[in-house]
């Protein structure tokens, strides 16, 4: 399903909103974003709607893009860092041209890289090594290697590599619902004191898991079990469990599959 949003200046699917803003047909300054989020949360809490994680991430993505666009419009002056420093005083279109030319250059270089890679990968090195019959008494290459280092090397060795195929068992592992995560967190958090979102999500592997944790925390915050705070803009999100004796009521937590 797609999210239909209603604002004073626009009513329709959120993707369309983004499209219209991008093409300057709607001014982002005319679009209040808070009601969009409220509507989103309301949809989440509506038991009768079924959501999948893709729609959810889609909304979050579009929301983030809108937020960024709006903040760019609201904040004075460009802040894009060093890249643009050398171009101070240039017309906007000159900067754009310079960037396009540079990009074309790198795209051409990327092609050159491909031929270099291909050529190099067609050269195979020798595997035979020293022939039998040589007295080889090499030093012990394992000297000083502890069993712990070996175990850690194993973990590095099997670390998830980018795999171009979709393996179904990942889905099984990652199929954690927000409701389940709320339940799990309400067990863990009371013993953890004050900690950051980064600490909480450090061991998580996939982006979906992190998103699910984030949503679960928002849930718990809305339900009044935790406080979320941020010291500075872009600072770490700090999480603290509020001392409450009430047990967590899962009734209000939406159940959607990951």
């Amino acid at each position: 399903m797609t999210f239909v949003v209603t604002t004073p200046s626009f009513s329709g699917p959120i993707e369309l909103l983004l499209q219209l803003i991008s093409s300057h047909d709607v001014d982002i300054l005319d679009v209040p974003l808070a009601p969009l989020v409220d509507a989103f949360v309301a949809t989440l809490r509506d038991d009768t709607t079924e959501l999948d994680m893709e729609d959810l991430s889609e909304f979050l993505l579009i929301g983030a893009v809108l937020l960024e666009m709006k903040s760019h419009r609201l904040l004075p002056g460009p802040e894009s860092g060093e890249i643009d420093e050398e171009f101070i005083g240039w017309e906007e279109r000159d900067v754009l041209l310079a960037r396009l030319l540079e990009l074309r250059t790198y795209a051409a270089l990327a092609d050159a890289f491909v031929s270099l890679f291909e050529r190099a990968s067609r050269a195979y090195s020798r595997l035979r090594g020293v022939d039998d019959g040589f007295v080889v008494q090499p030093p012990d290459l394992l000297a000083g290697v502890t069993t712990t280092q070996l175990a850690l090397a194993y973990l590095r060795g099997i670390e998830e590599k980018p795999v171009p195929v979709v393996r179904l068992h990942h889905v099984t592992v990652d199929a954690v619902t927000v409701a389940e995560t709320v339940a799990a967190l309400s067990q863990r958090l009371p013993t953890m004191g004050r900690f950051s979102f980064r600490q909480l999500t450090e061991p998580l592997v996939t982006r979906i898991e992190v998103i699910v944790h984030f949503l679960a925390l928002l849930e718990l915050c809305k339900l009044g079990y935790v406080t979320l705070g941020q010291g500075a803009t872009f600072g770490e999100v700090q999480i603290e469990w509020l001392d409450t004796n009430a047990s967590v009521d899962f009734g209000g937590v939406d159940r959607y599959e990951g």
Partner: protein, 195 residues
Amino acid sequence: MRGELSLEQKLEAMLTVALEPISAEELADVVDAEAAVVRQTLADLRAEFLEQRRGFQVVELASGWVMQSSPDVAAWVTKFANRDVSHRLSSAALESLAIIAYRQPVSRAQISALRGVNVDGVVRLLEQRGYIEELGRAPGPGQPILYGTTESFLDRMGLATLNDLPPIEEFMPPIETANELAEEIAERFDDSEVS
């Protein structure tokens, strides 16, 4: 037929036997010669094998010198080489890799400012595949990680040093393209001002 053994002979034997690239210094150490002499001899050998159009070549990679089959003969060799072909990188990944290679040390924000899209995923992929690594952190707010290419990147490109990368000037778009682009941009700007 004994006689003195030549330096070429010793180096050839070692490259025949080695399972990993070896630096000129390490070879020099074993054969008891100056590293500079070893380097020159290896360069001569490389030229000699190339000129004789042998099926093998001596090459300097970032991690050292190796003897390998000549890429021209690849089609005939795969059956015995039985080695996996290098993973393909997407064009987005290749472009980011090119930016990193030529602008290192460079932060994700800088790459993404240039490419106009978020590059977190691509940078992570390049790092996992061993093409790039952290070189350190930039001073200033947020202390962003600075990336550069790895030795393994050069090895896989068949290059010894970053100086062997193709010169960037050769890849800049010709002046006509620049003019065309400039016109396109001007049109687009005018359009948006009208609407």
